[in-house]
């Protein structure tokens, strides 16, 4: 949609294609992901501060709102250290791979019915595949740093992300079974109307199977939320960068902008996984109470409202992630594996079968 508009704008030529493609791929980065990551870091610091009877950043602008901007400008200025024993190629490549991995996921996320990077039919599949790239980046970072803490951190991280991808995918599969589509856009479209049409409440329609599905969907929702927490290395699953054990895990050796890329990728990822959960279970960009634009007959307002709803829902889950982080201790690496392999995966399987049987009804 947007692509066509841009091509029109520049006239139909080969250059227009290239320019339109570039702009379209950069636009979400500068419009949304970067500001969001900056905002999320600020939010994290403020949320944690207020939970701990503190104020958090106060000196840069009103309540320190410019804090993360200062952080980024400072990180750009920092010396970029590459130690002699680092594997230089991998060391330089790793932050880019991690950043690309989490950034590419945004391409298929439906922010509103009009603002989607690419409307992929295989949206879910694509996101699962492309976020897998992050694993490679983390492993590269850990190996190239030539630091034992980094290595341990990256190995833990890889084991963790791979283990938790299985329950995530199993839950996603159950959704695919019900909805019959892998496109996140279609999924969101199906959940239109009011909140009780969301998949967490069994999906659209007022059939018997909807009510039978509700318990399974709640379980599925919990599983996918827990697994996504683990996939983005948040407490209680933040063992890859466990500060008290591994200094800061796979990015221990990175300084300056490369560290910033890891940092931003981490926060971008937080939103990406929340967005997936929202799109699958909580109606995506759909409003739970109907649209104001419909009410006053201004249909141009609807995409904006949808975008707002999507951001609000996504941010709520980001907030929950932060809330958990500042409340819970972290698990040990073996307990983490136990949680995935002994609890989440079997439950997800059983859940999948139950949902399959119900959809057969």
């Amino acid at each position: 949609m947007m692509y066509d508009f841009l091509v029109d704008l520049f006239g139909n030529s080969v250059f227009a294609d290239i320019i339109a493609g570039t702009i379209q791929s950069l636009l979400p980065l500068f419009l949304f992901i970067l500001p969001f990551a900056l905002f999320a870091v600020y939010l994290e610091r403020k949320v944690s501060a207020h939970m701990q009877d503190r104020l958090g950043p106060m000196r840069t602008g009103w309540h320190g709102w410019k804090q993360t901007i200062a952080d980024i400008i400072k990180l750009i200025q920092k010396e970029d250290i590459i130690a002699t024993d680092n594997d230089k190629l991998l060391f330089n490549l790793a932050p880019i791979v991690v950043f690309v991995g989490s950034y590419a996921a945004f391409a298929a996320i439906p922010f509103s019915s009009y603002f989607i990077g690419t409307e992929l039919d295989l949206g879910i599949f694509y996101i699962v595949a492309v976020t897998g790239l992050v694993v490679a980046g983390i492993l590269m970072a850990g190996w190239a740093s030539n630091n034992k803490y980094s290595l341990l951190g990256s190995m833990r991280s890889v084991a963790q992300i791979i283990s938790y991808e299985i329950p995530t995918i199993l839950v996603m599969l159950s959704l695919v079974m019900i909805s019959g589509t892998m496109s996140l856009h279609t999924l969101s479209e199906q959940q239109t109307g009011y909140a009780w049409n969301w998949y967490i409440f069994g999906g659209p329609g007022m059939t018997l199977s909807k009510f039978l599905l509700i318990p399974s969907m709640f379980i599925g929702f919990l599983i996918i939320y827990i697994s996504t927490l683990a996939e983005v290395n948040r407490t209680p699953f933040d063992i890859p960068e466990a500060e008290s054990e591994l200094v800061s895990g796979y990015h221990t050796e990175y300084s300056g902008m490369k560290f910033a890329m890891f940092f931003l990728a981490e926060y971008a990822n937080m939103f990406a996984v929340s967005a997936i959960v929202v799109a699958l279970f909580l109606g995506g960009y759909q409003s739970p109470v109907g649209y104001f634009g419909d009410l006053i007959g201004a249909s141009w307002m609807i995409p904006i409202e949808q975008f707002t709803w999507f951001t609000v829902k996504g941010l709520f889950f980001v907030f929950v992630q932060m809330w958990l982080r500042w409340t819970l201790p972290r698990l040990r690496v073996d307990q983490l594996m136990t949680t995935s392999w002994k609890y989440l995966i079997p439950i997800a399987f059983v859940n999948l079968i139950i949902i399959g049987l119900i959809t057969l009804l």
Binding site: R54, M58, A70, E79, S255, G256, F259
Partner: protein
């Protein structure tokens, strides 16, 4: 510092403004190596804790020296530790700053005379930007030290060498 010495000896508006921005960013986002040595480390922790809240100034403790901008030498530096601190300092990326907290780090403190294993002042090993006196300094004193460091950074210049 001073890499543009020849081209812009006086500086100009663009340079000065960019410089202000950069200095502002550096001074408002000072990340600290979470590194405690002795008694002063407890006061440093108290400064980071809720009551005094270092985070107000944008200071967050980073466990890895690679991510940090400044280090607080909080306590007695022994000869055995001095070489490690030097190494820690060398691992930090430029620009980096040092606050020497407490009498021991400043000059050896109460151990200056008979401390056969105490380094009499961290400035014998690494350059210090701000000295905070006290044994141990109160958290308010450490905050004052941080403000002094910010002031120092504010007046830094890419063009002119600061004294």
């Amino acid at each position: 510092m001073g890499f543009l010495d020849k081209e812009f000896t006086d500086g100009n508006i663009v340079i000065a403004k960019v410089e202000d921005l950069f200095n502002w960013a550096r001074l408002s986002s000072l990340w600290q190596v979470s590194f405690g040595l002795a008694c002063c480390a407890i006061e440093m922790m108290a400064t980071s804790a809720s009551h005094y809240d270092f985070d107000r100034f944008g200071v967050i403790p980073r466990p890895s020296p690679r991510h940090a901008d400044f280090i607080i030498i909080s306590g007695t530096v022994t000869l055995k530790m001095a070489t490690r601190i030097k190494r820690l300092y060398e691992q930090m990326p430029d620009p980096k700053y040092i606050i020497s907290m407490g009498s021991c780090a400043n000059c050896g403190g109460p151990y200056w005379e008979h401390g056969y294993h105490v380094l009499k002042g961290i400035d014998r090993v690494i350059p210090v930007d701000v000295y905070v006196p006290g044994c141990p300094p109160r958290p308010e004193a450490l905050l004052e030290g941080l403000l002094k460091l910010q002031e120092k950074i504010r007046h830094e210049s890419m063009i002119k060498k600061t004294a």
